[in-house]
């Protein structure tokens, strides 16, 4: 047996890779060779650890030392001190894990303490390009259990009883979906995986595919057995090159081991998988559009019913689940439906992965039991808002969701509570906003996105989102009227009621929820012609505070349009007519004598 006294795990997820973790891997390998300890220490490329804000991340076992913000030039010191001499390099450790003289275990750090990892169980622990490591941590044991000791209907029943709901957005019961597809009549059936993660700010599916691809393959094989299918497709966006590469490697390794293909594990069951690449259209995350795209058609939705469970890919019964949904399946099979159902709230079981982004200290991925409050996520796990700014709202569900204001911070998060608040779970993107975010601007941003991504098939979505966007732009420019608010609400209701697919039906949500909780900001834009957060440039003026101005003239030199004039001894003056509101003067003023408002 190969035996290494120490394992160096280096994150090669997209986040850490873009901050040069591949160079870190190379430096580790070189330095370790230099010291002649390559037979004692192994270096492994692994998936996302979740704390992306502090990447690149390196974890060294057996101490489980958590190094953050590692630079290639730090490697020499880590190897020399930690690996050769056994002295942890405290200066490079994740600051939260160092408490005076003692070093806390990762699991005691605030960011990880409240997390419970099911879908992300193997992310950051195994090398995703080595099937043996996945197998070692109980990989393919669930498939083995299903094929040797369970009937297809028992599998469906287990998933049903677990209470698992779709993690991609809608939150439909996964077990029911499996049941419908299993019972649908058809000689050929398909199992699909939706990896067309399109919500701005959401990246949990990418991390699962990159960090633990076999968990999705195994779950799809189990799904195939349960519903009576022997062919699956993973529909992944082409913008995820690392995910596609790891998944391709994983599929090849699974085929080599006979875990995909004919007569799997000698049981006679046959199942194979292929990857289909999407070209990055948001609408292709909608199930019927996704199916059309796999068929080679233009990615557009069609009316339902018939639902894909009855008539899906190539007109055959089709099961379609999201990546994160699949990532839960094997654990449910191994640990039982009751185990999974014991976590979470009454109607939302298990855990959910959230991608924390925006104005938050610990940007990254967290997996928490359903029913955790927004306050715990933002202020405990997320580490609060940078620079001591005030929390204004959290946006969940991306362009289909809405904002949750400060007064609802203590609501336990699950599917139904979020809908009651006018938002939705969506895929789990969570964007935190502080006092510097303008809610009209946020609504405009999301409408701009859905208007751009609308496929154009149905009129309410194609025309409606465009009209809503125009009104929002008008308000942001200070040309709005009070009647525009009614118009927005009216349009929103009609689009919701009449659009063909989920994209259009949910597109007005960002507007409706900001109107519900932050109407005063709309009114300020319309009546006072002011943007309280100082974001909408058309409503801003840069003004010199006379008492603070020392007449140094730095601002005038910075101004690209010569809008600032003045002379020694007299406060400078900004010509608001000429000013293009670039903000250069404000950032350069040494005396903080310029403000915007």
């Amino acid at each position: 047996m190969e035996m290494y006294r120490s394992h160096v795990m280096i994150c090669r997820g997209t986040g850490c890779t873009s901050s040069n973790s591949e160079q870190i891997v190379k430096n580790f390998e070189e330095e370790i060779k230099k010291h002649g300890i390559e037979n004692e220490i192994t270096v492994e490329r692994t998936g996302c650890f979740g704390l992306c804000a502090l990447g690149p991340i390196v974890i060294i076992y057996p101490e489980a030392s958590f190094y953050s913000l590692v630079k290639p030039e730090d490697v020499e010191e880590i190897v020399k001190e930690h690996l050769v001499k056994g002295r942890v390099v405290k200066r490079l450790l994740y600051a939260e894990s160092v408490d005076g003289d003692t070093i806390k275990s990762i699991n005691d750090v605030e960011f990880y303490k409240k997390q419970y990892r099911i879908a992300l169980k193997n992310c950051g622990v195994i090398n995703p390009e080595d099937i043996d490591e996945y197998i070692a941590f109980d990989g393919y044991k669930a498939l083995e259990k299903v094929l040797t000791s369970m009937k297809p209907e028992e599998v469906v029943d287990t998933i049903k009883r677990s209470g698992l709901r779709g993690r991609g957005g809608g939150g439909f019961s996964t077990g029911m979906k499996w049941d419908f597809t299993a019972k649908a009549a058809g000689d050929k059936k398909y199992v699909l995986c939706n990896a067309d993660e399109g919500d701005p700010g959401a990246f949990m599916d990418r991390s699962v595919l990159e960090g633990d691809p076999h968990s999705v393959i195994e779950a799809m094989a189990i799904a195939g057995y349960a519903v009576g299918s022997n062919q699956g497709y993973i529909y992944c966006r082409a913008e995820y090159p690392i995910a596609v590469k790891r998944m391709t490697i994983a599929i090849m390794q699974a085929r080599e081991y006979g875990l995909l293909g004919k007569n799997i594990l000698g049981t006679g069951y046959e199942f194979d998988l292929e990857i289909r690449l999407g070209a990055g259209a948001f609408v292709c995350g909608e199930e019927t559009a996704l199916i059309a795209s796999i068929e080679g058609e233009r990615g557009m939705p069609r009316p339902r019913p018939p639902f894909p469970a009855i008539k899906g890919l190539f007109g055959k019964p089709t099961l379609l689940n999201n990546v994160e949904t699949y990532a839960n399946i094997c654990q449910i099979i191994l640990n039982g439906a009751e185990w999974f159902a014991s976590m979470g709230t009454e109607k939302s079981k298990g855990t959910k992965v959230f991608a924390l982004g925006g104005k938050i200290n610990n940007t990254g991925l967290v997996e928490i039991p359903m029913g955790t409050t927004m306050r715990e996520i933002v202020f405990e796990i997320g580490g609060g808002i940078p620079e001591g700014k005030k929390f204004k709202a959290a946006q969940t569900g991306g362009p289909s969701g809405g904002c949750i204001p400060a007064e609802h911070l203590d609501v336990p998060i699950d599917y139904d509570n979020l809908i009651a608040l006018g938002s939705m779970m969506g895929s789990g993107g969570l964007i935190v906003m502080d006092e510097d975010n303008c809610m009209v601007d946020i609504a405009r941003f999301f409408l701009d996105f859905t208007d751009d991504e609308s496929c154009g098939k149905c009129t309410p979505c194609r025309e409606g989102t465009k009209r809503m966007l125009e009104i929002l732009e008008k308000i942001a420019e200070g040309k709005g009227e009070m009647s525009d608010i009614d118009k927005l609400e009216n349009l929103a209701k009609n689009i919701k009621a009449s659009a063909l697919c989920g994209l259009g039906q949910t597109a007005p949500n960002p507007v409706l929820s900001t109107l519900k909780y932050f109407k005063d900001e709309y009114v300020a834009h319309i009546k006072d012609k002011k943007c309280p957060a100082g974001v909408c440039t058309a409503l801003l003026n840069y003004i010199v505070i006379d008492e603070k101005c020392k007449s140094c003239g730095i601002c005038a030199k910075q101004c690209p349009v010569n809008a600032i004039s003045g002379q020694k001894g007299v406060p400078y003056l900004i010509d608001t007519e000429k000013c293009i509101k670039c903000g250069a003067c404000l950032s350069k003023c040494p005396f903080k004598a310029i403000y915007k408002g």
Binding site: E2, R5, Y61, P62, K85, I135, T148, G258
Partner: protein, 122 residues
């Protein structure tokens, strides 16, 4: 094609090599590896420890290093932490002494008194 038994073998074999990434409750064998320890010959000791772990498939044993604990004259120092037992410190360890410590103390649970710090101080 792999059979279920073959899969189980891969599982066992790989788990032995990557088990170090899991929380374990087993024995910790710690070798002092500061400059003093290395100069006194800690590396052959460490390698001997790893060899014994390998040869005996001691999947639950963690091999770790530590820095200087201030008794440089007694290096190489090797410490054995068994769950629920007092730490045992061995001094002036060599590769062959390390082998005996691994076989008698770590595996069979019998402390090798003559190599311990207590014995050397008398």
């Amino acid at each position: 094609m792999k059979s279920i038994q073959e899969l189980e073998e891969i599982r066992k074999r790989t788990l032995d090599t990557i088990n170090v990434r899991k929380d374990r409750s087993g024995t910790r064998v710690v070798v002092g590896m500061a400059t003093c320890g290395i100069a006194a010959g800690a590396r052959p000791v460490l390698l001997a420890v790893i060899d014994e772990v390998k040869n005996n498939n001691l999947a639950d044993v963690v091999v770790a290093q530590t820095g200087c604990i201030g008794m440089c004259r007694l290096e190489p120092i090797l410490e054995v932490y068994k769950p629920g037992e007092e730490k045992v410190t061995y001094v002036k360890v060599t590769a062959s002494k390390a082998k005996r410590i691994m076989n008698e103390h770590v595996i069979l649970g019998k402390v090798v008194e003559e190599y311990t710090i207590g014995a050397s101080e008398q």
